[in-house]
C-alpha cells in the first residue's frame, strides 16, 4: 500500500495538502473522509488517526496529522523544488514565522464563515449576529496584516517565490470567498497575489481542488447537501458555541 492521504476538500488544510501533492506529482491514494457526515468521528477512522482530524497522512505504518507537518514531510520525502520550503535558513524560518501568526489569526477565524452561512443553518442552528460581526472584523484585521506585514510589495508572502505559506494562506482565504464574502475586492495587492499563486498552481488543479467548497452554498440552497446525522449534532453545536 503506497502513500494514503485522508482528506475532505471542504477543509482548508486538506486542500493545501491535496494541491501540494498533485502539483508535485506525488503518487497517493485519496481517502475521502466526509466531514459533513461526521466520518472523521467514526469508529472506522479512529484507528487511522485517534486525533480524529483531517488531513491525515498514512505512509505504511507511519501516520501523521497536521497539514504543516504533512507538507514538510512530503517536501523532504519527495524532494520537491527548493522554493516550497527553502534550505536557506532565513528563507525557511520566514515560512515558520508566517505559519505561527497564521495559526493564531487566520486558522479558526477564516473557517467561521462556513459555519455561519452553511453548517449552522443546515442543522437549524443560528450564530448570534454579534459573533458574525466580530468574525467579520477579525477577518478584515487579519487581511490588513496579511497585506501590510507579510505580503508588502513582494510577489509572495515570504519571498519572491511560492512557498508552503502561500498555499496555506490561499486555502483559508478561499474558504471565505466560497461562502460569499468577496474579500479580494478592494484589495488589489492581495488579488494580484492570489492570481499569481493560482497561475503558478494551474487553473485546472485549482478548479478541481476548489470545486466542492465553491459548490457548497448552491448545494445548501438546493437542499442537495448531505444532511448530517443527528448523532453528529451535539458535536456541531459545541463547535458553533465555541465561535468567539
Amino acid at each position: 500500500m503506497g502513500l494514503e492521504l485522508y482528506l475532505d476538500l471542504l477543509s482548508q488544510p486538506s486542500r493545501a495538502v491535496y494541491i501540494f501533492a498533485k502539483k508535485n506529482g506525488i503518487p497517493f491514494e485519496l481517502r475521502n473522509v466526509e466531514l459533513l457526515k461526521g466520518q472523521h468521528l467514526s469508529k472506522e477512522f479512529f484507528p487511522v488517526n485517534s486525533l480524529q482530524r483531517v488531513p491525515t497522512l498514512k505512509d505504511g505504518d507511519f501516520v501523521l496529522s497536521e497539514s504543516v507537518a504533512i507538507l514538510i514531510y512530503l517536501s523532504f520525502k519527495y524532494q520537491t523544488a527548493d522554493h516550497w520550503y527553502p534550505s536557506d535558513l532565513q528563507a525557511r524560518v520566514r515560512i515558520h514565522e508566517y505559519l505561527g501568526w497564521h495559526a493564531d489569526r487566520i486558522r479558526g477565524t477564516f473557517g467561521v464563515s462556513l459555519w455561519t452561512q452553511v453548517l449552522a443553518p443546515l442543522i437549524g442552528a443560528q450564530v448570534p449576529e454579534e459573533k458574525v460581526k466580530r468574525n467579520r472584523t477579525n477577518i478584515d484585521k487579519a487581511l490588513q496584516h496579511l497585506e501590510d506585514k507579510f505580503l508588502g510589495h513582494k510577489a509572495f508572502l515570504t519571498s519572491q517565490q511560492v512557498t508552503l505559506a502561500d498555499l496555506m494562506a490561499l486555502e483559508e482565504l478561499m474558504q471565505v470567498v466560497a461562502v460569499g464574502y468577496p474579500l479580494f475586492e478592494g484589495r488589489p495587492r492581495l488579488a494580484a497575489w492570489r492570481e499569481r499563486v493560482e497561475a503558478f498552481l494551474g487553473t485546472d488543479l485549482c478548479q478541481e481542488a476548489h470545486g466542492p467548497i465553491f459548490h457548497i452554498v448552491e448545494q445548501a440552497a438546493n437542499k442537495t447537501l448531505p444532511q448530517p446525522s443527528p448523532d453528529f449534532y451535539p458535536n456541531m453545536l459545541l463547535r458553533i458555541s465555541m465561535i468567539p
Binding site: S50, L51, F62, L64, S65, E66, S67, V68, A69, I72, Y73, F76, K77, L89, Q90, R92, V93, R94, H96, E97, L99, G100, W101, A103, D104, R107, G108, H145, K149, P244
Partner: protein, 241 residues
C-alpha cells in the same frame, strides 16, 4: 551588538526560547519588554515587531518573530545537538506535528485558564461564570488526555528517548495555569513524571529561574494598569459571559 532576544518570561513562548538558549549556552542580549506595563505596544518595540508580539529575535539586520520560527532558527544557526530537532524524517515530523497542534490545543486553552482564574478577577474584580470556566477546563482536560495518549504514549519524551523542542514548548505552556493555582498534571501520574523528567533534563535551576516571574504574578499590583487596558480586559470578560 550581539543577538538580541526581546522577552517577557510571563509569556510561555518567551520561556521556551529563553530555556533553549540558556541550555545550549547561546550568547544573547536579554531585552526585557514588560507585558504588564504594555511595553510591547511602545513605538520602540513596534519598530522591532509591528505585530507587537513576543518573543522577537534580532540578529544583525535579521528580525524574526514567532517562537517556533525562532527556536528552529537558533537550533540550526548554533548547531544545537540533533535531538532537539531530529534529522530523522519521522521523528522530525512528530515535532512538526506537535508544534502545529499545540497552538489551539494547548497554548490557547492554557492561556485562557490563567485569564479566567487569575487575571480577569484580579483586574475587573469579577469572576468568569462557572459554566464557561467548566467548558474551558473540560477542553484542557480532554487535550491533556490526547497529549498523553497520542503524543507522549509510553515514551520518555515526545520523540522517544531524548528531549526535543516539542517537550520544552509543551511544558512551558502547561505551566501557565500554575499562576492561577491550577495544576494540569494532577490527574495523570504519567504526565507528572514526564513533567519532572523534562524539568530535570533542562536543569531545575534554569527551569525555576525561567518561571520565577510567572510565579510572582499573583503579587502584581494591577492598580497601576492603564485604564484602556483595563477596559479591554472588561470587554474580554463580556466575551466569556
Amino acid at each position: 551588538m550581539g543577538m538580541e532576544l526581546y522577552l517577557d518570561l510571563l509569556s510561555a513562548s518567551c520561556r521556551a526560547v529563553y530555556i533553549f538558549v540558556k541550555k545550549n549556552n547561546i550568547p544573547f542580549d536579554f531585552q526585557f519588554v514588560d507585558l504588564l506595563q504594555g511595553h510591547h505596544h511602545s513605538k520602540e518595540y513596534m519598530e522591532i515587531n509591528p505585530l507587537k508580539k513576543l518573543p522577537s529575535l534580532k540578529d544583525g539586520n535579521f528580525i524574526l518573530s514567532e517562537s517556533v520560527a525562532i527556536l528552529l532558527y537558533l537550533c540550526r544557526k548554533y548547531s544545537a545537538p540533533s535531538h532537539w530537532y531530529p534529522p530523522d524524517l519521522h521523528m522530525r515530523a512528530r515535532v512538526d506535528e506537535f508544534m502545529a497542534w499545540q497552538h489551539t490545543a494547548i497554548q490557547l486553552p492554557m492561556s485562557k485558564i490563567l485569564w479566567i482564574k487569575l487575571l480577569i478577577p484580579m483586574i475587573t474584580g469579577e469572576e468568569v461564570p462557572a459554566g464557561k470556566t467548566k467548558e474551558i477546563l473540560d477542553e484542557v482536560n480532554k487535550n491533556m488526555q490526547l497529549f498523553e495518549e497520542k503524543f507522549l504514549q509510553d515514551k520518555m519524551f515526545i520523540t522517544g528517548d531524548n528531549i526535543s523542542l516539542a517537550d520544552v514548548v509543551a511544558l512551558v505552556e502547561m505551566m501557565q495555569p500554575m499562576a492561577g493555582n491550577h495544576n494540569v498534571f494532577h490527574n495523570s501520574p504519567k504526565l507528572a513524571e514526564w513533567r519532572t523528567r523534562v524539568e530535570l533534563t533542562i536543569g531545575s535551576g534554569l527551569f525555576l529561574e525561567a518561571h520565577e516571574r510567572l510565579k510572582k504574578l499573583t503579587e502584581w499590583d494591577c492598580s497601576t494598569l492603564d485604564p484602556t487596558v483595563k477596559e479591554r480586559v472588561s470587554k474580554l470578560l463580556q466575551k466569556f459571559k
